[in-house]
Symmetry: C2
Subunit: 141 residues, 2 copies
Amino acid sequence: MKVYFSCSITGGRDDQPVYRRLVEALLEDGHTVPTAYLAEDDIPAMEKIVEAGDVFQRDTAWVNECDVLVAEVSTPSHGVGYEIALAEFAGKPVFLCYRSGAIVSKMLLGNPSPLYEICCYQSTKEAIENMRLFLNRSARE
Amino acid sequence: MKVYFSCSITGGRDDQPVYRRLVEALLEDGHTVPTAYLAEDDIPAMEKIVEAGDVFQRDTAWVNECDVLVAEVSTPSHGVGYEIALAEFAGKPVFLCYRSGAIVSKMLLGNPSPLYEICCYQSTKEAIENMRLFLNRSARE
């Protein structure tokens, strides 16, 4: 499947090691992840060079092309919140995960849409397992 | 006008004094602001009690009822990003402001929609002046 992976960039990179492992698991399973490089260590520097208008056009096009959106939401981010809405409004299944203890917006946690699956994880392994179950279910539907 | 004021709650409250002054200006001008209490000092404690599902239902209804959305986006927030998308997709004018020096998501800054007005302010006074100009223009359209 084509997976839009969404994570904080300007909002903070404390959870970047988790982003990287989630994306590695997606690629291992044969999925296409256009945003894979956003999970790398040095992405904020790279993204600084790109014009905001180009980022917007590129990322909205990718969200619309993807089969599902996967977002790590432990670190607050306007862009991720916007992209989640974009995927939902386009009717795409959305997987949100966050580490246990992170305080996540109730606007995300309270969404009753059946498109959403929300996972609070104790370990990165648990996040990956739940993401894989979500993707298997989405592939069957 | 009915103004949805959107600001960070769980994402961080460092800019709360600005939120308060923006909302005070809106109320002084006679606008209705259903989210006014979100700009107060002790709101995070109050919001902790409310169920996520109730927050989602309440806030999405308010966005849909409002004439415009005003958001302070200096502090990253998933909920604010989601609400901005919600307002845009409902065809509402959107005013985004942030203090000079704050790093704001390119997904917000790069949106080419004519519904958006984005203001980088040096002072709260400047933010209020620009917000008032935006509201005057929106009222005339």
